[in-house]
């Protein structure tokens, strides 16, 4: 649009007044834009280089190794990968349906006068810092789960391996729930955009045929499905990389346990906890390799999410 215009004027007809100014300006902006690529490339390069000790020492077994023993110099990332995956999956299972529900209410059902302030309040939830969620989780959520949720769950479903063990309130389950709260506004915002991108004619056609509001919503959802999937993947990416709140509540023990009540550890948490006290090059190198894994995983997950969301919203103006 706008860019076509300006490009045409400079490329086809050389401007008489001040072409040097234009060229300098253009050059400066391109240089600035290149900086973001340079940052990204140097991040990958620096982290690869700094984790070379660990990569050489452990190779692929780093990812499947189950022992994390800095004193003996043994570093396996599996317990952390497990903890990251499980806590993120708990978060997604809880947050995805709720977020889609909120977005449907805001876009399809609520009148504008309610939807607008409510959408803002949901967005505010995303403005609360991670460390604040962590604080709240330690002193409110964990005690609540310990007293009112985990014991009854164990009474009813205790025969399942997921609900065995002591109910301390600190562990995977609490970590997953706090993550769910944190990613709900993010998923909601994207699903709202995606739903709004579905042409209003679809809804009108459906309503005109006598469908109820909900039946119409289902048609809208079907049209927006890949975008909704993208929103959920984006939420997953956030959950995987979330650090402070999880670190404060998940228990920080590198164990692989089937129980959701048991403490765990995530990749981001181990970096946050042990980075400053990493003694020895191999230890530091192993932690940086963890960071590299986290970086690559979130980059790929985010890229995938963008493509999915783009498939629905490409025909409309992007609102972000």
């Amino acid at each position: 649009m706008a860019s076509d215009l300006t490009e045409n004027t400079t490329s086809t007809a050389p401007r008489v007044n001040n072409p040097i100014g234009d060229r300098l300006f253009r050059g400066a902006l391109i240089a600035a834009a290149s900086l973001i690529l340079i940052i990204l490339i140097s991040m990958v390069a620096v982290m690869f280089y700094s984790s070379r000790l660990s990569i050489r020492e452990f190779g692929f077994s780093f990812i499947i190794g189950q022992v994390w023993d800095p004193i003996k110099g043994e570093f396996g990332a599996l317990p952390f990968i497990f903890g990251t995956l499980v806590s993120s999956l708990i978060a997604i299972v809880i947050a995805a349906p709720i977020s889609v529900g909120v977005a449907i209410f805001l876009v399809e059902q609520a009148p504008k006068s309610i939807a607008r302030p409510m959408a803002f309040l949901v967005e505010l939830l995303a403005a609360i810092p991670s460390v604040v969620y962590g604080l709240w989780a330690i002193f409110v959520l964990a005690p609540f789960l310990r007293v009112y949720v985990q014991p009854p769950l164990q009474d009813v479903l205790g025969f399942l391996p997921f609900f065995k063990g002591s109910t301390t309130g600190i562990g995977m389950m609490t970590g997953g729930i706090i993550l769910a709260i944190m990613i709900t506004p993010i998923i909601t915002a994207v699903v709202r955009d995606v739903l709004e991108a579905v042409p209003v004619t679809q809804r009108e056609a459906s309503l005109a045929l006598g469908a109820t509001k909900w039946e119409t919503t289902r048609i809208v959802l079907a049209n927006a499905s890949s975008g909704i999937a993208g929103a959920i993947v984006l939420g997953l990416g956030r959950a995987v990389g979330e650090t402070m709140a999880v670190t404060m509540i998940i228990g920080n023990r590198p164990e692989i346990s089937a129980s959701l009540f048991a403490p765990g550890y995530t990749i981001a948490s181990v970096i946050a906890n042990e980075f400053t006290e990493a003694t020895g090059d191999l230890y530091l190198s192993a932690l940086i390799e963890m960071g590299l894994i986290l970086f690559l995983v979130t980059f790929i997950v985010n890229g995938l999410a963008k493509l999915l969301i783009f498939s629905v919203t490409r025909n409309t103006v992007q609102r972000s």
């Binding site: 706008a2 300006t6 400079t10 709720i98 209410f105 609520a110 505010l124 604080l135 509001k213």
Partner: protein, 273 residues
């Protein structure tokens, strides 16, 4: 009622329950923070430095530290983000623009702790000490892609006719962008920048091993620097009740700042977007 209407009613109720539930959760969290935080809040808490358990103390140095870290990060991150965003909206329709846009988009989702690791390796490890400069750099890296994307969106909202008018009058391209387009989008760009400030004001993870934290007032850029978030974290994970109270009070201060920025931005942009 037939079954279709009943289904409709149930689903409408469910989605409304989701929405009201999430809002209720927000109110619950915010009111709990206010309730817990207000009791330990005092003037001395806002100006004193941290002290051992039971001896009072406050977060004065952490507030100043957060502001210094944020100021430096903004000085680097905001102009760069605006420049890249301007590039994307004014000249970014080609393949290079597409790549830059994709990278900026994806960088927004990279965990903030990764930026901390990166800065630790390239700055802290080289220099051998934690520093304000390192902390600010990690925050700046987080700000750049956020400001980039909001700037691009805001500049795109400027009507094409304004550019055409200026170009038709013979203004060079850079003048059009600098004197017409960017001023027209200034409110939007500024609010985007403010939101990015609010976002990094709450960052903790990248500061843990860059700015590290400090118990003293400090203005030197090559020394460790306290911040509100790291201070909250340290208070929160301590075993002392007295420090937990301080964590809540510090949180109340932090949340008030962040929410004020967000609500202010909302107020400015309430009609436009």
């Amino acid at each position: 009622m037939d079954q279709r209407r009943i289904t409709n009613l149930i689903m409408t109720t469910l989605t409304a329950a989701c929405a009201f539930g999430v809002v209720a959760l927000l109110i619950l969290i915010l009111s709990y923070i206010s309730y817990q935080g207000i009791s330990s809040l005092s003037l001395s808490f806002l100006v004193e430095t941290p002290k051992p358990v039971g001896e009072g103390g406050g977060i004065g140095n952490a507030i100043v530290g957060s502001l210094i870290l944020l100021g430096l990060a903004s000085a680097v991150g905001i102009p760069l983000g605006i420049a890249i965003g301007t590039y994307l909206s004014e000249m970014g329709s080609g393949w290079y623009g597409t790549i830059v846009r994709f990278v900026a988009d994806t960088m927004i989702g990279i965990p903030s702790i990764i930026f901390g690791v990166f800065v630790y390796v390239i700055v802290v490890l080289q220099q051998g000490y934690f520093s304000t400069l390192a902390g600010s750099l990690s925050l700046a890296l987080i700000m750049i892609p956020i400001v980039t994307r909001t700037t691009e969106e805001m500049i795109r909202l400027v009507p094409k006719s304004m550019r055409e008018g200026a170009l038709a009058l013979g203004a060079p391209e850079w003048r059009v962008t600098m004197n017409i387009v960017i001023p027209a989008a200034m409110t939007g760009i500024a609010t985007g920048a403010m939101l990015s400030v609010a976002r990094v004001l709450g960052e903790t993870a990248p500061l843990l091993f860059t700015a590290f934290g400090s118990r003293f007032y400090n203005i030197y850029l090559d020394e460790p620097m306290a911040s509100m978030t790291v201070q909250i974290y340290n208070y929160a994970i301590s075993p002392f009740e007295d420090w937990h109270d301080k964590a809540w009070a510090a949180t109340l201060v932090l949340i008030t700042l962040i929410l004020t920025i967000n609500i202010f931005v909302r107020y400015i942009t309430r009609k436009k977007y």
